[in-house]
Symmetry: C2
């Protein structure tokens, strides 16, 4: 099921600026029993990102369309794209132009259960993320770096890849955010120069605060990873996976990681 | 007139990876009397960029489609997009997947004649280009930086904008490349970290070599601009415009600039 500006469709105008320039952003959301999980957080992030890119989607229509797809499809994944709509050739845009809304349903990926219980290995991506503060954190449609990074491995040995930025800072996974546990405290990359500030990352930061855990959003150097006691990756679809291995580093499936995983799965 | 994979169309599959991730590249070509100007250079650049992004378009079909649109439309602009085609949700791609070809015709912009004779002013863009060697030089579909930069001005006083990279190096225009003349020699940004290596830039470098001019592709600092004697911007559609002004700097319409402009216009 796909809605383009509220209408069932399988195609989009070839002049869409999302296609021409990646001029837009997206959200990937979990659908469970007809409800979109953490919809409020997704819409808050969407609105924030839209402001940064000066996109003006019709939010009332957007919510109705998400609701319609959620009701019809019940479970799986809802992907929402917001683009600047159709344009003339050339980068100049009309500030008044209504953004285009694309809502797509798909099935939930079939992850191995061991990802959740025994943890995952992260591929050491050679593709580095450029440092661009104007776009950092935004889930925008300019994702060639992730495409190149994801093409680096095809072994099922690796469930995710770890990406550094061009300054060598640990940034995020290809489709996940990262948290590190040390001395009962949580550390996660700052994402002011690169990376996507995911909704599950925001949820975990909020949960940690509720639990009274110290959390640090800060630049994280690669050499620090050897001193970390637990590592986890997260996104809105799978929740939390413990990370067992990256390059020559190994970590146990940690107690705090499993506690957070359980709380997130329970809807906290 | 638009051809998508050779068929007349106005829409493209909503699952196209060009839309989802900007996973593709494009060429913008001048069409004159049924012929695409510098088609060989465009196709050479396209093939080089396709290799870097591991895209595999059917080049025989592509040439036939360009020819068909050129014959039918006679004059104006032909824009070609090559995307990785339709994909499942997620960054992983099939290395064997056939790329999608999109050929679009549009009218040539109506530039003021004074752009060519009296030169243009460049807006001083605050949007900086990220430094990403893996994508530098490629005319790919991840163009949010250009969209943001072009939105910085709407006065017709400025025909183009000058963009620095995040290290402060002079890189290119929003839709043009830049050349600087000093002591009869040509200097142009190296574009190994950011920017698009345009076909007109390649043409001018080749022409300069034929004329026995020394040319330097190198990192250019902003402070160097005050010592330059002529400045020009260029692209495949308009050819060459003299640059008269940037910030508080001014330059004359130079003799070498006008000579190169004339030679390019004459098809050299």
């Amino acid at each position: 099921m796909i809605l383009v500006d509220g209408q069932p469709a399988t195609v989009v105008d070839v002049a869409d600026r999302g296609l021409a320039y990646g001029d837009g952003l997206f959200e990937t959301m979990r659908l469970h029993q007809g409800q979109i999980t953490r919809l409020d957080l997704h819409l808050a992030r969407l609105q924030q990102d839209c402001q940064r890119l000066r996109l003006n989607p019709d939010l009332v229509a957007l919510k109705q369309e998400l609701e319609a797809v959620a009701q019809a499809c019940v479970g799986g994944v809802i992907k929402l794209m917001v683009t600047r709509g159709s344009g003339q050739r050339g980068y100049a845009s009309d500030p008044q132009q209504a953004a285009r809304r694309i809502v797509q349903h798909s099935a939930l990926p079939d992850w191995p259960q061991s990802n959740f219980t025994e943890g995952v290995a992260l591929f050491a991506c050679q593709t580095r993320l450029a440092r661009q503060p104007l776009l950092a954190g935004i889930k925008h449609l300019n994702r060639l770096e992730q495409v190149l990074a994801r093409a680096e491995w095809n072994s099922s040995e690796y469930a995710e890849g770890l990406m550094l930025d061009t300054a060598g800072l640990v940034t995020d996974g290809v489709f996940s955010n990262l948290f590190f546990v040390r001395a009962g405290e949580l550390h996660t990359p700052l994402l002011d120069q690169a990376g996507v500030a995911g909704v599950m990352r925001a949820q975990i930061l909020e949960l940690a605060q509720q639990l009274g855990l110290n959390t640090y959003q800060r630049p994280i150097e690669l050499h620090e990873l050897s001193s970390m006691e637990e590592v986890l990756c997260c996104n809105s679809l799978y929740g939390i996976w413990p990370v067992r291995r990256y390059a020559d580093l190994e970590w146990p499936v940690g107690a705090l990681t499993l506690d957070l995983q359980q709380r997130i799965a329970n809807g906290e």
